[in-house]
C-alpha cells in the first residue's frame, strides 16, 4: 500500500469519528520522535560480556569491541601457542556475562561443547557455567562466570576448534 493511500484511509476514519463526537477532527498527523540507539562495546553493553579479571584475561580478545576467546598462536598476550597434547587444560573464570538491563533475563551460551577429531586424536572444548547448567537466570546487575575445559586425547597438533559461541539473553517474563 502506498503512503498516500494510507493517510487517506486514516483520514476518512478520523473524519467519521468526528461526526459522532463533535470534536474538531484532523485529517492526518505525522510526528517525528527521538530515538537514540548506540552500539556499545561488549564490556559496557546491556548484556555485558567481558574477561572475568581472575588471571586468565590474556586468553580473551576484545577486537572491535567484541569478546573473543583465543588459545592459539595468534594470541600475542599468551606465550604458549595452544593447549598441550594429551592433557587436560582448565582455564578457570575466563569470562563473565552480566545483566545490565532493567529486568530479569535468562542467559544461555550455545553450544557449550566443541569437538575436533582426526583419526583417533580428539580435541574437546567445554564451556562451563559456574552456577547453573545449561542456562542461568540473571537478575538486574547479576553476573555469571564461565570457565573453559580443554581435553586432548591423545593429541595431535593438527586439531583446532575455530568456531562461534552464541550468547543469548532473554527476558524471563
Amino acid at each position: 500500500m502506498k503512503r498516500r493511500q494510507v493517510i487517506a484511509a486514516i483520514g476518512a476514519l478520523s473524519g467519521g469519528g468526528a461526526v459522532v463526537t463533535g470534536t474538531g477532527a484532523f485529517t492526518s498527523v505525522e510526528a517525528n520522535r527521538d530515538v537514540s540507539v548506540q552500539v556499545a562495546d561488549d564490556s559496557s553493553a546491556l548484556l555485558r560480556m567481558a574477561a572475568a579479571g581472575e588471571g586468565n584475561d590474556g586468553y580473551i580478545t576484545t577486537g572491535g569491541g567484541e569478546l573473543g576467546i583465543d588459545l592459539t598462536s595468534d594470541n600475542d598476550a599468551v606465550g604458549g601457542e595452544g593447549v598441550n597434547a594429551n592433557a587436560t587444560t582448565v582455564i578457570a573464570d575466563l569470562f563473565e556475562i552480566q545483566n545490565q538491563g532493567t529486568q530479569e533475563i535468562e542467559v544461555e551460551v550455545t553450544p557449550l561443547s566443541f569437538v575436533d577429531a582426526d583419526g583417533s586424536d580428539t580435541l574437546l572444548v567445554l564451556v562451563v557455567p559456574q552456577s547453573s547448567f545449561p542456562s542461568v537466570t540473571l537478575g538486574v546487575g547479576e553476573t555469571e562466570t564461565y570457565s573453559l575445559v580443554v581435553n586432548t586425547f591423545p593429541g595431535g597438533n593438527s586439531l583446532e576448534v575455530d568456531d562461534t559461541i552464541t550468547v543469548t539473553g532473554e527476558a524471563t517474563n
Binding site: 548484556l47 593447549v83 583446532e160 559461541i165
Partner: protein, 205 residues
C-alpha cells in the same frame, strides 16, 4: 521504505512499548562470538615441555611426537643400575607459557625413580623453608599431594616439614633431572605415562 517513514514508525513503536512496560527493558539479545582453540606441540604449548638444547641427555627424550616422551630402556641402549644412585641431568625443560603463576609437579613416577628441579631453574620459591622448593618435583620425592604449597605449618604431621612444589610465574621455567636411588623394583619395566601437573597457585592446597 523511505527514511522519514521509518523514523515515524519506530517513534510510535517506542511510545507504545513504554506505555505497556513502563521500563526501558531489553527483551532479548543474541550475539555470536569467536572461540578458537589450537593444540600445540609440547614445546610450544601453554605448559611448554621440551628437551634442553645442547644437553647430551636429550637423547633420552623424544620430542618428535606432539607429546614428549622419555625412554631410558634397553631399546634405547641403556637401563638404570639397581642399588645405585643414577642422575640424569638436564633431561627436560618445563616452562609456564600461560598467564598466571602455577605450581608444577609430576605424578605417576615408578617407585624410586624421581624427578627433581635443578638449581639452574627460574622459579619464585627456591629456598629451604616452609613454602619453598628445595628441588622436589615428583610426588615420590619430598612432596605431599595434600600440601603442595606447604603453606600451613599446623596441618597434619607433614605440615610445614616438607617442601613446596616449584612455583612458576608466567615465563619462569624449571630444568628437570631424573634420579634413581636404592632398590629399584625387581624387573622394573615401566612403560606407562607420568603426569606433569600445573595448577593456578590460588587453587593449590
Amino acid at each position: 521504505m523511505q527514511r522519514r517513514k521509518f523514523i515515524a514508525g519506530v517513534g510510535s513503536l517506542a511510545a507504545g512499548a513504554a506505555a505497556v512496560t513502563g521500563t526501558g527493558a531489553f527483551t532479548s539479545v543474541s550475539a555470536n562470538r569467536d572461540l578458537e582453540v589450537q593444540v600445540a606441540d609440547d614445546a610450544s604449548a601453554l605448559l611448554a615441555i621440551d628437551d634442553i638444547d645442547g644437553s647430551p641427555n636429550s637423547e633420552y627424550v623424544d620430542v618428535s611426537d606432539n607429546s614428549v616422551s622419555i625412554d631410558i630402556s634397553t631399546t634405547n641402549g641403556v637401563g638404570l643400575n639397581d642399588n645405585a644412585t643414577t642422575k640424569i641431568l638436564d633431561l627436560l625443560k618445563i616452562k609456564n607459557q600461560g598467564t598466571q603463576p602455577v605450581y608444577v609437579w609430576a605424578s605417576g613416577m615408578p617407585s624410586n625413580v624421581k624427578l627433581a628441579v635443578q638449581p639452574s631453574s627460574q622459579i619464585q620459591n627456591d629456598g629451604t623453608g616452609a613454602g619453598e622448593n628445595q628441588g622436589a618435583l615428583s610426588l615420590n620425592s619430598n612432596l605431599s599431594a595434600d600440601d603442595l604449597d606447604d603453606d600451613d605449618p599446623q596441618a597434619g604431621e607433614s605440615g610445614g616439614a616438607e617442601e613446596a612444589a616449584p612455583l612458576l610465574n608466567a615465563g619462569d621455567f624449571i630444568n628437570v633431572e631424573l634420579f634413581s636411588s636404592g632398590d629399584l623394583p625387581d624387573n622394573l619395566d615401566f612403560d606407562g605415562q607420568i603426569t606433569i601437573n600445573a595448577e593456578d597457585a590460588d587453587q593449590v592446597d
